[in-house]
Subunit: 227 residues, 2 copies
DNA sequence: CTATGTGAATCGATTCACAGCC
DNA sequence: GGCTGTGAATCGATTCACATAG
């Protein structure tokens, strides 16, 4: 059912949702495929194909109703209900993530913060008190936590990931620059900050190489210009 | 020349580099396609195709020489020389990014930190002193800064991005959850933290849907299990 | 007349299978 | 024997073009 959504489409759902919410907040009640496409450097046809996978709720001559679209996309992402998340690792990055407002706004709630460093356990951390990581299984079961954010040093990442798995976590958002080895039934999404920066550097180089041949126009573009 | 590298391949270069460096540090002198593939959930054939784009320096019966591979990948990414980066925005996230060691390790050096909030200007910030954002054009030109990390609130992002463009920045790593509108000659890579979390949630849902049908084995996997 | 939904065509990326080299 | 490099085949995603609905 939602499993039939192509991978490429799935990766765009979040973008459509964000844009639809933005337009709704600006007072629009409907949005055309053309308009969604422009925001991310896609084509209108591509957007319509994607939408068709979610069921057909576009009105020819009008577009998609923002509210309907938002509700539908949230249902697919599973963020129509608030989901609990555990944060592991209280370094600089962990601190920033713990206080990041964006997660709450989009249906995720950090319900507990852990660290394996006993020096940090018991300390206040935003609105949380840092807990010993051995409490993880108990808390995850008690509070139905299925997702975890892993913000520990690379050297500790694999070990902590295994503790997360044993605690029953089903998905790990991994900020450590290592590839985690986990059982097949656990999902991992890697956010490698320096990889993103490398991709940016490469995109800049490629663009310059291109513009050596064809002299540039002056158009404005939007969306990831780096692929 | 490097422009002929397919998009999909380009996105894997950083991963190969990371893995090659890790294996080298563990004492390996060569690495086989099979081994690189396993680390990220790819196939060996795919890795070999990718490598072929970088020029043929694999040895049949042996594999790829780690040092050679690392040097080549760094050259393509442009991180064989250290590149200067400006950081704009000194909130929680900016603070974490400023002190993030991973950037330095991979050839990027944050040479200046800016904020538009005059309360913050002049304050110490890691090893940097926060500068007024109006100094940006001067500093970028003086220090040949072509890349910037944008870690300001969503409401300020577009405005600051335009200042970056006017200052001569060619690439923006954007942490604000908005799609920036920039001239075509400027590259943008978006890192949307809540989008990543949404993708993780979706991946978990999809995996469960699958496992309702086919009962699971006990294999271990690596690499992004979320596409 | 405007904008969706969709088959058909195109494009690109992955997988297969094997010849050639160490 | 082991592993690369690569054409051929397959698979998936994007683009095109148009019939259809409001």
């Amino acid at each position: 059912m939602i499993g039939s959504i192509p991978k490429a489409t799935a990766q765009r759902i979040s973008l459509y949702l964000r844009q639809a919410e933005m337009l709704r907040d600006q007072g629009q009640t409907t949005v055309a495929s053309e308009q969604l496409a422009a925001a991310f450097g896609l084509t209108a046809a591509q957007v319509r194909k994607d939408m068709a996978h979610f069921g057909q709720f576009g009105r020819p001559g009008v577009g998609y109703r923002c509210e309907e679209l938002i509700a539908q996309l949230r249902r697919i992402l599973g963020t129509d209900k608030v989901r609990s998340v555990a944060l592991v690792g209280c370094g600089n990055l962990g601190r920033a993530l713990a206080s990041y407002q964006g997660f709450e706004k989009r249906g995720f709630r950090i319900v507990a913060v852990f660290d394996s460093d006993l020096q940090k356990v018991g300390k206040q951390f935003g609105r949380h008190i840092v807990q010993d990581i051995v409490k993880l299984p108990f808390v995850c079961r008690r509070d139905s936590v299925h997702l975890a954010i892993l913000a520990v040093p690379a050297s500790a990442a694999q070990d902590v990931a295994e503790q997360l798995v044993r605690a029953g976590i089903q998905g790990i958002l991994n900020f450590a620059p290592v590839s985690l080895e986990v059982p097949a039934e656990v999902s991992v999404v890697n956010v490698a900050l320096s990889v993103e920066l490398e991709q940016l550097g490469l995109a800049v180089r490629l663009k310059q190489e291109l513009q050596h041949s064809k002299p540039a126009g002056d158009e404005r573009s939007r969306g990831p210009t780096a692929g």
